[in-house]
């Protein structure tokens, strides 16, 4: 699946877009753990102390924060999905 990183997360990853190989049907939570494994400096920003998705990161699937999808962190991802990953962002 294709993962796009934004803002300070992009700086840590070093590029905007990364292709990650996760089994079809992997959960959004599994994606968070894969990101933490690939980029240890991001571990505490994407995974919380209980192993869930941290509140300090937002995974967008089809423009929807997975937090608001019915299955939340357990939302299943397809190999063809594009995920946008943001740190908290606001301004105005």
């Amino acid at each position: 699946m294709r993962v796009n990183f934004y803002a300070t997360l992009r700086t840590a990853v070093g590029q905007k877009t990364v292709e990650l190989s996760l089994p079809d049907g992997s959960s959004a939570q599994a994606l968070a753990h894969e990101i933490a494994r690939r980029w240890p400096a991001l571990a505490d920003r994407v995974v919380d102390a209980e192993g869930g998705i941290s509140r300090r990161v937002h995974f967008m699937l089809g423009g929807r924060n997975i937090r608001w999808l019915p299955e939340g962190a357990a939302t299943k991802l397809a190999a063809t999905d594009v995920i946008d990953v943001f740190p908290p962002t606001a301004g105005g």
Binding site: Y6, A7, T8, R10, T11, K16, R55, R56, H58, M60, G62, G63, R64, N65, R67, W68, D84, F86, P87, P88, T89, A90, G91, G92
Partner: protein, 604 residues
């Protein structure tokens, strides 16, 4: 400077008579309405809600808050409050930089301007005194040249120049004051009120002063608590680490685009697709960023100074590429050329105009041109050279620019198609599409100064930036949330602290700092009560000015034309349902404050 005596030194300037008098604000007003926004609205009410905005009788109030210029973080703010020539409502707009702080250090808490001068004048403020001086040499000049003129005359050290440009002089209805070249009283057309009074500038000279009359230990403690929140790495305000500090406000571009909340082509679409990246904060940071300027007492440094390195505007050095103008002049106009966006923001800074209103005027005219509804040459989507030429024409009211200088709402009305103006109460919408961020839409509709993102920044909850986190597509519960944000911001705008302080601080921190500054107990509940009182005072003014039941609306595009793009696809704004909730928690009858509510809140 003395914090506890805030409100004792209000300068009243009658431009017609040439008189200046310094006297205190009524104690009751300061107690009830705090300062800056709240106190300013109370003054403006004195001229009567029927006053014509561009008449000598309208009051133009420049008001500090009780914390302006103090050592408190993010306290470099002051307010300009008047009756708006754009909306006909009361309006307030806030500047950063140092002008407000220097006014305080010069010994004044505010300047209340009335009348009209026979010829162009400026106000010179120093050592507790304020004088009218001849401005004929700079009338007609751009703001950059005006600032340079006064810096040459008075020296750069400790000097703030708050000026109007040609757009204010020609009474463009969205003309803006700017200080130090680039910090704006942006919204509501306050500089047209300055132009109508022949007031070109306020020049302030004052060195830094420290607060003298507070409990030093308590003052240090409450300021430290607030600063710790701002510095906390989990907050976006964290210096050099948080997204707001690193990328500035334009860190928002990609996220609103991703969730289908980035109005595009005059809000006909809700996403700019892959092209948003080219006008985003990430792109700016990687390609054209050259500096991170800041305001008085602010460790966040969200301003972004850029230099254009190629193309027709190569060498342009300016600040600041913010999210709002990057959206208004970018995606909203189908333009993904960041250099042209920077050029037009700099034009706004020099001509003295609000870039949000400008971008909406241009995008409305582009849609009208595409549909064959204009008589002149019209304007094509994303035609940057034509946009830049039109920006100049608007400020000078030349050709088709004269129509657009009226603002998009009036201009669309004159074209016979009011439905293509994306405006509430005559003021154009900012950069959050109400179909993708439902609470922001309710905030636009119920804002007392016309469409505005800063009256209730519900996006902080809808985007998951603060502890309270809500689904942006859910309408239920947004009525109560919008009220809480409106009341909290009404208070912080009256202190006057930067709106971005709310990303790290809350009512507890505001109350603690205000209590020490005033030398009196003040609680978080008092914060929310004062904020509610100020919000209701504004609504009371607007009700008297003719904004009654049915006046809280959104453009039909947001309530009837469903989004077709990812994130918000299929959604419209459920405004009527949200308004029902909102009026219930406000205790209002539709858009009107009832008598019992006024009595309960001791208004006016």
């Amino acid at each position: 400077m003395d914090l506890q005596s805030f409100g004792q030194s209000m300068a009243h300037v009658d431009l017609g008579a040439g008189d200046v008098e310094i006297r205190p604000a009524p104690d009751e007003w300061v107690r009830k309405f705090i300062g800056a926004r709240g106190l300013g609205v109370r003054y403006v009410l004195e001229a009567g809600p029927d006053v014509e905005a561009l008449s000598p009788e309208n009051l133009l109030c420049f008001v500090n808050g009780p914390l302006t210029g103090s050592e408190t973080s993010m306290s470099g703010r002051w307010a300009c409050v008047t009756k708006s020539p754009l909306t006909g409502t009361v309006t307030d707009s806030h500047q950063g930089g140092w002008a407000g702080a220097r006014l305080r250090w010069a010994g004044l808490d505010g300047i209340i301007v009335s009348g009209r001068a026979d010829s162009p004048v400026y106000l010179f403020v120093e050592d507790g005194k304020i004088e009218l001086r001849d401005a004929s040499e700079v009338w007609g000049k751009g703001i950059h040249e005006t600032v340079a003129f006064f810096q040459k005359r008075y020296g750069k050290k400790n000097l703030s120049v708050n000026a109007i440009g040609p757009a204010g002089e020609t009474l463009c209805r969205f003309a803006a004051w700017l200080n130090e070249d680039d910090r704006a009283f942006g919204r509501g057309g306050t500089a047209a009120v300055g132009g109508s009074k022949n007031l070109k500038a306020i020049v302030i000279r004052a060195g830094t002063q420290k607060s003298r009359d507070v409990d030093a230990d308590a003052w240090k403690k409450v300021r430290r608590q607030a600063l710790d929140r701002i510095r906390d790495e989990k907050n976006i305000t964290s210096p050099k680490k948080g997204g707001l500090s690193v990328y500035g406000t334009n860190v928002l571009m990609n996220v609103t685009n991703s969730i289908g909340a980035l109005g595009t082509r005059n809000s006909q679409l809700t996403s700019f697709g892959e092209r948003a990246e080219a006008i985003s904060g990430e792109y700016v940071e990687q390609n054209i960023l050259v500096g991170d300027p800041t305001c008085h007492a602010c460790p966040v440094a969200c301003k972004k100074e850029v230099e254009i390195k190629q193309g027709p505007w190569k060498g342009l050095h300016m600040e600041s590429v913010e999210y709002e103008p990057a959206w208004a002049l970018g995606a909203n106009c189908d333009n993904d050329d960041i250099a042209s966006v920077a050029k037009m923001i700099d034009q706004c800074n020099d001509l003295g105009m609000d870039p949000i209103e400008l971008g909406n005027a241009l995008s409305m005219y582009m849609e009208a041109s595409e549909k064959g509804w204009v008589e002149g040459n019209g304007l094509a989507w994303g035609d940057t050279l034509a946009m830049i030429a039109m920006t100049d024409a608007i400020a000078r009211r030349e050709g088709e620019g004269d129509l657009l200088a009226e603002g998009p709402a009036r201009a669309a009305e004159q074209l016979g198609h009011p439905e293509i103006a994306m405006a509430c109460k005559g003021q154009a919408v900012p950069a959050y599409d109400p179909r993708g961020l439902k609470g922001m839409g309710l905030g636009y509709a119920t804002s007392n100064r016309g469409a505005c993102h800063l009256r209730a920044y519900v996006a902080a909850a809808e985007l998951g930036v603060i502890d309270v986190e809500v689904d942006p597509l859910e309408w239920q519960g947004k009525g109560e949330l919008v009220k809480v944000f409106q009341d909290l911001h009404a208070f912080s705008d009256s202190l006057d602290l930067c709106k971005f302080s709310a990303f790290a601080e809350g009512a507890d921190e505001y109350a603690a700092q205000y209590a020490v500054a005033r030398g009196e107990p003040f609680t978080a509940d008092d914060v929310m009560l004062a904020g509610e009182r100020i919000y209701n005072l504004e609504r009371y003014y607007n009700n008297l000015a003719g904004f009654g039941e049915g006046s809280d609306t959104l453009p039909a595009r947001f309530t009837r034309e469903a989004s077709t793009q990812a994130g918000s696809k299929g959604h419209v704004s459920e405004l009527d349902q949200m308004l029902g909730e909102y009026y219930s928690v406000r205790g209002w009858k539709d858009a009107v404050v009832p008598e019992d509510k006024l009595r309960q809140l001791e208004i006016p």
